[in-house]
Symmetry: C2
Subunit: 359 residues, 2 copies
């Protein structure tokens, strides 16, 4: 079967209705749907509407609170800790990012660590909120353990993504959004569906040996940190994933390391909960807290132009700037719609029928 | 010839005398020597006293100012930009890091971007200054272009390191210090001296093809971003190196991308100088701006213990926590001294004779 394409607005409306059905207030439902769908627009299909049923299942399992009292539990002029009250990360994260932006407006930068939250969609959705304020935005989150540290067979960290979004002038913004692993788990899932092998350096088996089995995570294997192996710097990817965990959970009081709750509702909770929920970390830095915005933007445009004009290797059309592929996908999908796999469309239809929303 | 081992204090005193000879004020000479030697203590031999002659040559070429008027040129409660006045990075960076710590004391966090500086030694030397204040320290710097972005043959970024240092309780601090490349340039230099090949994934040749030639950088080749190739996430290493450049130079007004001045004084300056000198970026976050220090430290000790107790792969003794190898090296070298290659010792002896300091 072929993918069918759906208009952004159609999927957005459907998603809003679903979030309302599980009890989200109108503004939360709209905010959560916008964050979720930003993944589909940007081509990160694994983190978009394909996960909607997963979020509903978490609510059904009483792991998500549809009417959380999200609140600040500690703060200084440039920092805060937010308690997400077990709300959707898609709702908690925009609250926390807005707070970081407000603090940056007041004292130059704002830094917010979040506990007691759930999965927050794509990191870029939050970091990019800073751009319209002429601020640099930063977003990261921990996640359930799939990644083995260098020299280990134990799954100790999530794919723990980092996003940094920096405004430019006439050029589009710089947006780096990266899991701290060689490859995101979504890519393995795609290979599994196609029954294809994974490249060496993406995963290891239960004994910690090289593997090309895209399904190895179910057999005790693990994703590898960015770098792949020690000789190619996997200790660096491991260290970066660890930094994300420390900022997101150790500074907030969320669960950390192998004790971060899983996204699939059918996976049992970890044997131990040293903190509350999952953790995120957000930052906003006002450009003019450092330099006049005009001077910065002139230099950013020049910087981006430098990379665009770099010499491509033979066979490549051009050198990309972080954020280029996602922005190009979004431009196409806003006009031509978002393609969904038949299985995803069927899943959404079933979800709609179950909750009384027409897909 | 065997390496000879020198007492830390002996090398420190020698380095202080050399910096005084080129005109550094006493306190600057002491501070610069301490930063430089911290690399030797931690086992990062490529960035320590082996570079002392290089710093002197930069001064002789009038690219370094031994008596800089380091000053704040812009600030908000949580941010500042520092003009290093072409001083040694070893002097400018401690000033900027101290300022970040002071701002964190006042408003929770402090963030300082630096222009018009020079090479600052190892990133960890600066980030770790935050630890004694129960703060998380962050340090990064741009550097002269050796790294090709994914899909490019142009050298556009330096090895642009990032260090994050986070305090713990009874456990030693977490210290992640990493170049955003597969391998640091110092490791290539060691292979060249031994006439050995580099592993695939470290470098590419002038055409952008895989290479194992450790000397390929002199032949138009380039270091590769962390990840190595696109399939293994080199676009992520490229993005991280780019973030370091943006924070260090675009926020401060330093030179960026391929226009960052080189460390060797014999290498001509780039054809263009869009900013001033090289750039650094420093951050300090007070732990108690987020959570009570006791709760954080209890969790950090538990977190570190979790990784120490993770299962090692067969043949490995244990799983390491970022910072472990360097700390263990420092413990040994503080007692048993710092080994120097015969060539390095001879170079220092010649430097001492030239400037009238006994080695």
């Amino acid at each position: 079967m072929q993918d069918t394409t759906y208009a952004y607005q159609q999927l957005l409306d459907f998603t809003i209705q679903i979030f309302k059905k599980i009890g989200c207030p109108d503004t939360d439902a709209a905010s959560a749907a916008e964050v979720l769908l930003s993944a589909d627009l940007r081509g990160v299909d694994s983190h978009g509407v394909a996960r909607l049923t997963g979020y509903v299942r978490l609510w059904e399992a009483k792991r998500v609170n549809a009417t959380p009292q999200v609140r600040v539990i500690h703060e200084t002029p440039s920092t805060a800790v937010v308690d997400g009250d077990s709300g959707l990360g898609l709702v908690v994260a925009p609250y926390a990012m807005a707070l970081a932006i407000e603090k940056a407006r007041n004292v130059g930068t704002g830094w917010v660590s979040v506990q007691h939250s759930n999965h927050y969609g794509i990191a870029a959705a939050h970091a990019m909120k800073a751009l319209e304020h002429d601020m640099i935005g930063i977003s990261m989150t921990n996640a359930s353990p799939l990644v083995a540290p260098t020299f280990s067979t134990s799954k100790m960290l999530g794919t723990n993504p980092i996003c940094v979004a920096a405004p430019a002038g006439t050029e589009p913004a710089f947006v780096a959004d990266l899991a701290t692993t060689t490859a995101a788990n979504g890519k393995l899932e795609i290979l599994q569906r196609k029954n294809e092998a994974a490249p060496l350096g993406w995963v290891q088996d239960a004994a910690g040996l090289d593997s090309t089995d895209a399904g190895v995570l179910k057999k005790g294997g693990a994703l590898l940190p960015l770098g792949g192996d020690r000789e190619h710097g996997s200790h660096k990817g491991y260290a970066l994933g660890a930094v994300v965990d420390i900022f997101s959970a150790l500074l907030s009081g969320a669960n950390y390391a192998p004790w971060v709750p899983p996204f699939p509702a059918y996976v049992p909770m970890p044997d131990r909960q040293p903190g509350k929920g999952i953790g995120h970390f957000f930052g906003a830095m006002r450009v003019d807290a450092f330099r006049p915005v005009e001077a910065y933007k002139r230099d950013m445009d020049d910087w981006i132009g430098g990379f665009r004009n770099a010499t491509p290797v033979k066979g490549q059309h051009k050198v990309l700037v972080p954020g280029d592929p996602e922005r190009e996908t979004e431009a196409v999908r806003r006009v031509h719609g978002i393609p969904l796999l038949p299985a995803v469309a069927a899943d959404l239809k079933a979800l709609g029928e179950r909750l009384g929303v027409v897909f």
